[in-house]
Amino acid sequence: MNPVDTKPIERSATDELLQLAETWREPPGFWGWFRCVHHQTIGKRYIVTAFIFFLLGGILAALMRMQLIRPENRFLGPDLYNQIFTMHGTTMMFLFAVPMMFEALAVYLVPLMVGTRNIAFPRLNAYSYYLYLFGAIMVWVALLTNTGPDAGWFSYVPLSGPGFAPGKRVDFWAQMITFTEVSALAVAVEIVVTVFKLRAPGMSLNRLPMMVWAETIVSFLVIFAMPAIMLSSSMLILDRLVSTHFFNPAEGGDALLYQHLFWFFGHPEVYIIFIPGLGIVSTIVATFSRRHIFGYMVLVLSLIATGFLGFGVWVHHMFATGIAGMGRSFFSAASMMISIPTTVQIFCWLATLWGGKLNIKLPLLWIFGFFFVLVMGGLTGVMLGVIPVDIQVHDTYFVVAHFHYVLIGGAVFPLFGGFYYWFPKITGRMLNHTLGNWHFWLFSIGFNMTFFPMHSLGLKGMPRRIYTYQPEMGWTTLNRIATFGAGLMFIAVLLFLINVFWSRRRGVVAGENPWGAGTLEWATSSPPPPYNFVELPTVNGREAVWDAAPNQPVVRGLRTDMREVLATNVLDADPDHKELMPEPTIWPFLAALATTFLFIASIFTPWGLVWGLFPVAVTMTGWFWPKGKDKVNQEIVEAEDAARA
């Protein structure tokens, strides 16, 4: 079936454009804020919220560094320090890295990159954002009321069990997991459907932009990895609240089971954070080399291989737990193998840069930083894959140095590159170049000053998570250097914030495609209109803008008076049918409030689960009940289809 005519046309008439803008306009006013369901709005909210949590997590890191600047410091006590390092890890992993690298970027960029008008299941998208926001606020309110989680970001049992962690601190952590994982799972489903069903005609599987490949693979990682952590955190909270004994060896439970479940999620999570970074790198490298990416197929294969291998390395986090030697060796081999696809990708990017006409701008500068930092982190990763080395440096600052090189190198460096790259698209203005340069160099120098000495501290035996140390240990100088480095990073991020606020109003106007990029988000104005594209585009190559024919056809026949999009088939993106998108509504917000009540109430009483179900059922029914403009639109479309038949 091909209901869509794909002929070149002149731009639509003004009244049609006005109608299109009115149809896709987000509702105005105070209550309108809670009714928004468009991917651009929700995506921007995700970006801002996740960045706020990056700043909060950074403030906690700064507090830890201030505490460790000298031996026997009394700036923070041990109890507060426990809460701070737990909340630093929790915030950075669950409230910043995953929501930013996956949810925020995917929700904002993927629909634009595949050439459609909105994400699939837009109401679910709004619901996912509110759940994430409420979960994050809950756990931060807990911290501010001295009930912050204090058993580490992975909350190992028995430390986090009822015997060693009385009170509600760990319960807030476990329930925060439920909030954020439901949110991530919802977005994963939306992205899979958007990518497989809403692509522009011509964007067959072998023409997907690398960033879209990355976010799609991450969606599958989320779908398969997140249930493990939801299971483990639910079992933990059951052990704590209703005295089950899943993790209590004294009653036939198994403490190690918790670690297996946690890391079966935890290691893929590293790739959930890292793979979007790889997508950003591929995108920026191609744009600023002004050529198609070298080795597209190899890059896609590497992403797929990384996604699979990421599920087979979790036991390397447990080498020190007494697992049998041969069993460990399988995971040691997998841990070393996983460096191969990343290395292959680095060679592809270098080959692209080598054969391109380089345009060295701020986004590319951050990618150069990424190469340096990630290779450093990757090398120590291979070292940690070797079992004797891992056991020797287990739980020391060597590991802290390694994973900060990997996570900041693999995610934050590309992310800042991505900010400079897509800021003009989101706001219509360029970020200031001079401030951007200061940001890059201060951050890079500060980062290496902070984390490079930690390798040495780890080899000298400094354990993780200690709130102070004695002067005779010989760790003072390196800790001092690390703290000064953290200060530089702090200033760098402050400069970035100043740049964002200044450029938002006074930056140079960007225009449609300031970098001369090739992917579809640059085929519309900056910032994009609420309907994304005046006419949905068709695609003639991997870089849709670069490869467009002189009279590249556009999609015609979509209604302008309803939120209609084109559904295409999974593999070849051939036009399949027209699909109505739902209108703005407050029900996802109300459903998220009801879900929040259920989750928080169940921390205090198991009956919370029962009573909480009623408001959830009511709000979900309200959400799905056919009514209002959605019902009218559906009836009109059905009547027209019947008349046509």
Partner: protein, 122 residues
């Protein structure tokens, strides 16, 4: 050479996806099952079960490679790496399938090596 319509039918598409996914799934099966079988091999002394597991799992990516290769040879000569037609897309999927099968065949071998060196009871 085959008609482009062939690459849109369910059977061909299933073959192409099998080529891409069977290798990694076989590797996951080998790793998971071998990890579970180590204590069994130690307690019973039946070390050979670990090798049998590897051998069986190696057959899967080998078969997937052949399937992907068969798909590759029947794609039309006009197929290009970035063409927008079903033939080019199948050509892409077939190559990814062959590469994925080969990669995970090697991954299974890499994880088989410790079985010749270490004792399951260590």
């Amino acid at each position: 050479m085959t008609d482009v319509q062939t690459f849109r039918n369910g059977r061909t598409i299933a073959h192409l996806w099998t080529g891409i996914l069977a290798g990694p799934l076989a590797w996951a099966l080998d790793e998971g099952m071998s990890y579970v079988l180590v204590p069994h091999a130690c307690s019973t002394g039946h070390y050979y079960v670990l090798h049998v597991m590897t051998a069986l799992c190696l057959l899967i990516p080998a078969a997937a490679f052949l399937l992907a290769w068969r798909m590759y040879v029947i794609t039309p000569p006009s197929s290009t790496e970035d063409g927008g037609d079903a033939g080019s897309r199948s050509h892409f999927m077939a190559i990814i399938g062959m590469a994925s099968s080969a990669l995970f065949f090697l991954a299974i071998i890499a994880e088989a090596i410790p079985r010749f060196i270490l004792n399951p009871c260590d």
